[in-house]
């Protein structure tokens, strides 16, 4: 065997090693696939209650008649505590709204706290999507409460405690990942459809220049 031969063989070995390592890394860092996307979509498209009640009363005109009472102080029950044993989360829930400047969801600045969308349904609702969002991480604070949200799987339990002290249990039915430009937020912030809990955080590839993640991770749960 000549020296030239040996060099060529060494080059081939190095090439094969480099290719193997790169492939392993690429496969290893691939995120888990979406589960239960169809089920989550079906929850949003549940039959509207108005047509159902109109049909039941035999109202042929089909014009809804509502009492002219003043809008009452609806008893909203805000969640105050969120527990997800499967990923070791116990977090305080703050009621939050929309940032006036950016028009975006106002996720609590502390990564240990998560935010409940106070304009949407609370825990008392018998329909619609209760939305809770939290940080996956922050540059200055490290890992957030929802760091492992993407590890949740179908059947995992989520427990939300209301400010009335009652615990409500939810069962995870879907985990989805959407590019932030394509996520159907109307569906996740809907106030109608089946009762469901929607947990949102960031995920996917991170752009170090803009300091933003490309995607949102969305977990949907139904009352257990």
């Amino acid at each position: 065997m000549t020296v030239r031969d040996r060099g060529a063989l060494a080059a081939m070995a190095a090439g094969a090693a480099a290719l193997t390592v790169a492939t392993l890394v690429a496969c290893g860092s691939r995120p888990a696939e979406d589960v239960g996307a169809d089920e989550a979509a079906a929850l949003a498209g549940a039959t509207p209650t108005r047509t159902a009640s109109a049909a039941a009363t035999g109202d042929s005109a089909g014009v809804p008649v509502n009492a002219g009472a003043l809008p009452a102080g609806g008893a909203t029950i805000p969640p105050v505590r969120l527990r997800i044993p499967a990923i070791g989360v116990t977090a305080t829930v703050d009621p939050v709204g929309v940032n006036q400047r950016t028009d975006e969801f106002e996720v609590p600045p502390s990564v240990d706290r998560v935010g409940w969308y106070r304009y949407g349904p609370g825990l008392e609702a018998d329909g619609g999507s209760v939305v809770i969002a939290g940080h996956v991480d922050a540059a200055d604070q490290g890992e957030g409460a929802f760091f492992r949200l993407r590890e949740l799987d179908r059947g995992d339990t989520v427990t939300a405690t209301g400010d009335d002290g009652r615990e409500r249990r939810w069962r995870v039915v879907a985990r989805e990942e959407y590019a932030k430009t394509k996520i159907p937020l109307d569906r996740y912030f809907a106030r109608d459809g089946s009762p469901r809990l929607t947990l949102i955080t960031c995920g996917g590839p991170f752009d170090a220049k803009t300091r933003h993640y490309r995607d949102n991770i969305v977990v949907t749960a139904v009352p257990a």
Binding site: D5, G15, V25, Y119, D137, T201
Partner: protein, 105 residues
């Protein structure tokens, strides 16, 4: 108007006389509430009738919830460079071996 509870009363036109209220109106986000005063002030049977239009809400523009990058799942460009270098080395080395073998014959 921001969502929340609003105190509203009805004043007779041209006077400061409060005819009704003040009443608390809980205005929910995404609804339009129209309140009518019905009746006669002189007969003292004025009352309120409210009409609420729901479904005017919209969703937030986005959910920004991460700035750290610790949970990034993308593959760094350098791994693609490494894979490319690997392929080049394999092909180059293979060609060398092949030409060396045919050259010896």
């Amino acid at each position: 108007m921001a969502a929340g509870t609003v105190k509203a009363d009805v004043v007779l036109a041209g006077t400061d006389t409060v005819a009704i209220g003040p009443a608390d109106l809980n205005l929910k986000e995404g609804t339009a509430t129209i309140v009518y005063a019905i009746g006669s002030a002189s007969d003292k049977n004025l009352k309120l009738v409210a009409q609420t239009i729901s479904g005017l809400h919209s969703a937030p523009g986005g959910v920004p919830s991460g700035t750290g990058g610790q949970a990034g799942t993308g593959v760094d460009t350098w791994w693609y460079v490494l894979a490319g270098a690997g392929v080049l080395l394999l092909v180059g080395g293979g060609a060398r071996v092949a030409t060396a073998r045919t050259g010896r014959r």
